[in-house]
């Protein structure tokens, strides 16, 4: 058996690879569910019902998908340019913290204030990634290490702030930051649910990212630099500028996820407000084959697993940790699937 590189990759294959990966991950996880003494089909049925079965579950799932779309976009944008931003989690928290802090005492009319807060969140995320990008360009420091480690530093920093200067005095000793002013809370998209206007912002962001990547000079330069850095440099494309531009965009998207989560869902910042949105964004981006439209679909899948797993766990007793297993497995199966889209197996 041997792998031969494909001359061309048919589009159908590109589209079916993520589906096949997801199915494979579900089949593998079924083994674990069965080991827990539960019929996997029944368990997955519960999972689907938990994510799509009622108005409430559907909106919960979409609420969860909203930040995932943005962190997924952040990873996709960076990975396309071969900037390995593993720091989505940290950028998410910096965005959230900046938004809560500024939004607590901001005095601007509602809509304008919301826009300003989102921009603040984006700036915070962008600045956080600018550091590692600079270190890589200037000294060749591996950004995988710096961005990953920054996540832990940021979490500790957030803890410090919400125990100290930004502590909410009305939270009864609960470690939580001051909340954004209620004037800047995002309106409900569906009344009496947690689903908020942020979903529209996330969808718009996906559209904008697609436009930037495919239609702008910056997008073409980014793609060229990511695919063949030497040829891009030969053509006069400045690699440092491209990498820095990508870093700012990627960090801004993850920061926006944090801002919107605060404005739409939590109000203030806690260290537990993210179940790993930044890390899951990496899986979302990979499942989407780094395509912005795919990111939306992949975010819905991951949100389904997370929200549905809770319901499944309540109904069948399978621990809800199975959600993490499924998401992690789908990343692995997707990597295998990507191998088969670029290579073909020969006897």
């Amino acid at each position: 058996m041997r792998l031969e590189r494909r001359e061309t990759v048919p589009l159908t294959l590109v589209a079916t690879a993520p589906l096949a990966a997801v199915v494979a991950a579900l089949v593998l996880a079924a083994g674990l569910i069965a080991a827990a003494g539960v019929n996997p089909l029944a368990a997955y049925g519960e999972m689907l019902r938990g994510a799509f079965g009622s108005r409430l579950s559907l909106t919960e799932m979409l609420t969860r998908a909203t930040p995932l779309i943005l962190t997924g976009l952040a990873a996709a944008v960076a990975f396309r340019a071969r900037l390995w931003n593993i720091g989505g989690e940290g950028q998410f928290f910096m965005g959230a913290l900046a938004t809560a802090w500024i939004g607590h005492s901001l005095a601007l009319p509602g809509l304008l204030g919301m826009a300003v807060l989102m921009i603040c969140g984006m700036a915070a995320g962008a600045l956080l990634l600018a550091g590692p990008a600079f270190l890589r360009l200037r000294f060749g420091v591996d950004e995988v290490v710096t961005t990953l480690l920054l996540n832990f530093i940021v979490i500790l920093f957030v803890g410090l702030m919400i125990e100290g200067p930004l502590r909410d005095p009305l939270a009864f000793g609960w470690p939580q930051s001051v909340p954004v002013d209620s004037a800047y809370r995002l309106a409900d998209l569906v009344p009496r649910t947690r689903l908020h206007m942020g979903l529209l912002v996330a969808l718009a962001a996906a559209g904008v990212v697609w436009l930037v990547l495919t239609r702008t000079v910056f997008g073409v330069e980014t793609r060229a630099a990511g695919l063949n850095a030497r040829a891009a440099a030969f053509a006069g494309i400045s690699l440092p500028r491209t990498i820095m531009g990508v870093a700012l965009l990627s960090g801004a998207l993850a920061g926006l996820a944090g801002a919107i989560e605060v404005m739409g869902v939590t109000g203030g910042v806690t260290t537990t407000m993210s179940p790993g949105f930044g890390y899951a964004g990496i899986v979302v981006a990979m499942l989407a084959a780094l395509h912005p439209a795919g990111v939306v679909a992949a975010a819905v899948f991951v949100a389904t697993v997370f929200v549905g797993a809770d319901a499944m766990s309540r109904a069948t007793g399978v621990p809800s940790f199975i959600a993490d297993v499924i998401v992690a497995l789908s990343l692995l199966t997707m990597l295998v699937a990507l191998l088969f889209t670029t290579y073909r197996v020969r006897r």
């Binding site: 001359e7 061309t8 239609r215 702008t216 000079v217 910056f218 997008g219 073409v220 330069e221 793609r223 060229a224 695919l227 063949n228 030497r230 040829a231 891009a232 440099a233 030969f234 053509a235 006069g236 494309i237 020969r346 006897r347």
Partner: protein, 505 residues
């Protein structure tokens, strides 16, 4: 002669593409057979089938009368077939000895008998006149030396039939000649050889017999003594091809001037005090054995390296520090040495590659958005004007053949009517038809008044195209000679670093 190797009725398909169609071939004991064909003719595929890398759809391979099982390189090695691939397969971080031993030891063995291996390697090296340092790290070796290691690796496994896929593609002329001498010596030692090539002169000089492959079919076999390069050229291409001839015309004013340029990079002197002038309507040829500073010269004229001292002037303005974009804006165009690594982004479309250098110009972008319609129209125009085959604007450029990709890159350069053109190894790896087309375009640009600097390792090409020639040796340039006075002996001396003005030190 007894056949040591026989391919009969081999057919190999890749999907709809028939890479080999009913090909039969015999190799006699002690014979050197040249397998000649254009790029894409199916030479590599055929040899990969013989060696067991690919499985043929039809047909079989016999070595010393025994049929080889299909698709088993180990069986081919055991039967005495050795292969030196077009793209080397050595591990750069290992020593020569390690590379030679790699894969020929049984995994079940505990420890390895390096002493015996070293002895065997040195014996082979001596016997066949292939000197190596067994402890040198492969990554530190030149391409020529690496190739020697590849050959030794095959011989170490007791190959009696050796196949070399385009062995001279990476070698300069003198190195290539030395290689063929060695190969000739090896046949006297009982080896039989097949070498693949698309270069007529070396096929004529070094083979006993020629098999010509075209479009996957075996179109002719000739004894080398009974054929001529023109007949082979026609057989290979399927029609008559002739390289265009340079017409004499008046040379204009200086366009590009290098004034005593030195480039030092990481403490190493890459170019030393070089000066030259390229005039309007003139082609200046730079010849030399590879690795003598062509890389740095190309980088300098592409805007990727700046002079450490000295000045580079284009139309009088200092352009040495401008970088690629500034240089292009100043009227320079560049054909890079390696079209896959530098000339094109393989996974991007033809239209994107066609405008990559001018992405930010008003012609192709507005308010930061790419003007796609204009860009595609431009690509379509290039495809038409420069006869790029097998592609539309939306084709990924990776799918073009080398010749067509080069025509597109050349088109991208010439579309703007540049004042100065750098043509760095513009025909490397191309077949006869494509070479003629590229020469045609270069001469047309010259006729229109472009100043062209041609860097080439092909002496014929340099002599055919250039008005004047300078040699580059260890980062220094010889005085120019007029093309008319550039005979092989004079150029040979120049390339060896012997020129009138060089002082004794």
């Amino acid at each position: 002669m007894t056949p040591v190797l026989e391919l009969s009725h081999i057919t190999k398909r890749f999907g709809p593409l028939v890479a080999n169609e009913d090909v039969s071939l015999r190799l006699g004991q002690g014979e050197i057979l040249a397998l000649l064909g254009e790029n894409g003719a199916g030479k590599t595929t055929l040899m990969n089938i013989l060696f067991g890398h690919y499985e043929a759809d039809e047909g079989e391979v016999r070595v010393f009368g025994e049929t080889l099982p299909a698709g088993k390189p180990r069986a081919a090695i055991a039967a005495g077939v050795g292969m030196v691939h077009q793209h080397f397969t050595l591990a750069g971080n290992l020593s020569v000895l390690d590379n030679v031993m790699l894969g020929s030891e049984r995994l079940s063995r505990i420890g390895s008998d390096r002493r015996a291996a070293r002895k065997k390697l040195m014996a082979i090296s001596e016997r066949f006149g292939l000197p190596v340092d067994p402890d040198a790290r492969v990554s530190k070796l030149s391409v020529g030396e690496r190739q020697r290691v590849e050959i030794l690796k095959a011989l170490y496994r007791d190959a009696r039939v050796l196949i070399l896929d385009e062995p001279t593609a990476v070698l300069a002329r003198p190195e290539a000649e030395r290689l063929f001498e060695t190969l000739r010596g090896m046949t006297q030692d009982g080896l039989s050889l097949i070498f693949i090539s698309h270069k007529l002169h070396e096929v004529m000089a070094a083979s006993d017999r020629v098999a010509v492959l075209r479009g996957g079919r075996m179109v002719a076999e000739r004894a080398t003594s009974e054929t001529s390069s023109s007949e082979l050229a026609e057989l290979m291409v399927g029609r008559k091809v002739q390289r265009p001839v340079r017409q004499d015309h008046a040379i204009g004013a200086p366009v590009l001037q290098a004034e005593r340029i030195t480039i030092v990079e990481e403490g190493e002197t890459r170019l030393e005090d070089i000066s030259f002038t390229v005039n309007e309507g003139e082609i200046l040829g730079i010849v030399g054995v590879s690795g003598n500073g062509q890389g740095a010269l190309g980088a300098l004229l592409s805007g990727l390296m700046a002079p450490t001292s000295g000045a580079l002037r284009l139309n009088g303005a200092d352009v040495g520090q401008l970088g690629p974009r500034g240089l292009i804006a100043a009227g320079a165009a560049r054909v890079p040495e390696d079209r896959h690594a530098e000339g094109a982004v393989g996974e991007m479309t033809v239209w994107e590659n066609a405008i990559l250098e001018r992405l930010r110009s008003a012609a192709f972008s507005r308010f930061g958005f790419v003007r796609r319609a204009e860009a595609k129209a431009h690509a379509r125009e290039l495809i038409q004007r420069f006869d790029v085959r097998g592609a539309g604007p939306d084709t990924r450029i990776r799918l073009l053949s080398g010749g067509n990709m080069q025509k597109l890159i050349l088109g991208r350069c010439l579309a703007t009517g540049p004042r100065f053109l750098l043509a760095n190894q513009p025909t490397r790896g191309l077949d006869e038809g494509a070479i003629a087309a590229v020469h045609e375009e270069l001469l047309a640009a010259r006729a229109e008044g472009a100043a062209i600097l041609l860097i080439s390792e092909e002496l014929e090409e340099a002599v055919q195209l250039s008005d004047r020639i300078q040699a580059i040796v260890k980062g220094r340039l010889s005085e120019p000679v007029a093309a008319g006075e550039a005979d092989a002996r004079r150029l040979g001396l120049m390339m060896a670093g012997v020129w009138d003005t060089q002082d004794a030190a």
